[in-house]
């Protein structure tokens, strides 16, 4: 079974949330801006707890923010 990867819609959701900045999102969920950049660029898969916090910050369900793509 090949490894999949977690993709996300954070960039679009930030835009929908009135161009929320990466720093604003980082402050809301309690991480650094670099971590938000890494998650947004699919370079880092967040923990389940952080993923829930990000979804909560946008007021969306987890699966609307993150998706698991099988390769």
């Amino acid at each position: 079974m090949g490894a999949g990867r977690v993709i996300n819609n954070i960039r679009r959701l930030r835009f929908d949330a009135g161009e929320m900045t990466q720093q604003e999102l980082a402050d809301r969920v309690g991480v650094t801006r670099q971590t938000i950049i890494a998650i947004e660029g699919a370079k880092y898969s967040p923990s389940l707890e952080l993923a829930f916090k990000i979804a909560e910050a946008f007021g969306h369900a987890l699966e609307e923010v993150f998706e698991y793509k099988k390769s």
Binding site: T32, R33, Q34, G41, P46
Partner: protein
Amino acid sequence: MSFREKSAWVCLISTLVVFVPYFLMVAIIDAAGALKMGAIVGLLVAAIFFQGAIAAAAMIAVAIRSGADTADERDRAIDLRAFRNGYFVLSVSLVSAICVMIFAPSSWASHLTLPLASQVFFGCFVAAEVVKYSTQVVSYRRGF
């Protein structure tokens, strides 16, 4: 670039800048047959002090310019990966060095002095540190 990534760069560069010349110097002294414990301890203390001073000064400059931040889960994950890689290099290199010393041909035995053995072991620690900082730098650059 985050404070922690800059810190990793500072530690990596200061370690290489100080300890590559240090081990070259040790090799030159050893080749001249003058590797004595007293001289090595003096050189070692100077190198550690110099590396600490460079790293501290650079760290203060980085903190003043960009501000220190607290570690989050990604930083901790990167640290764990870096420590794992560093520990792997440390254990493999130490075991290899010990095996070489135990099973070395008799022609080498006369050359394996305590000062040389201490430098080999110290080299294992420095190599592990370099791998640890390199892992941090690569993880921050390429993603984790």
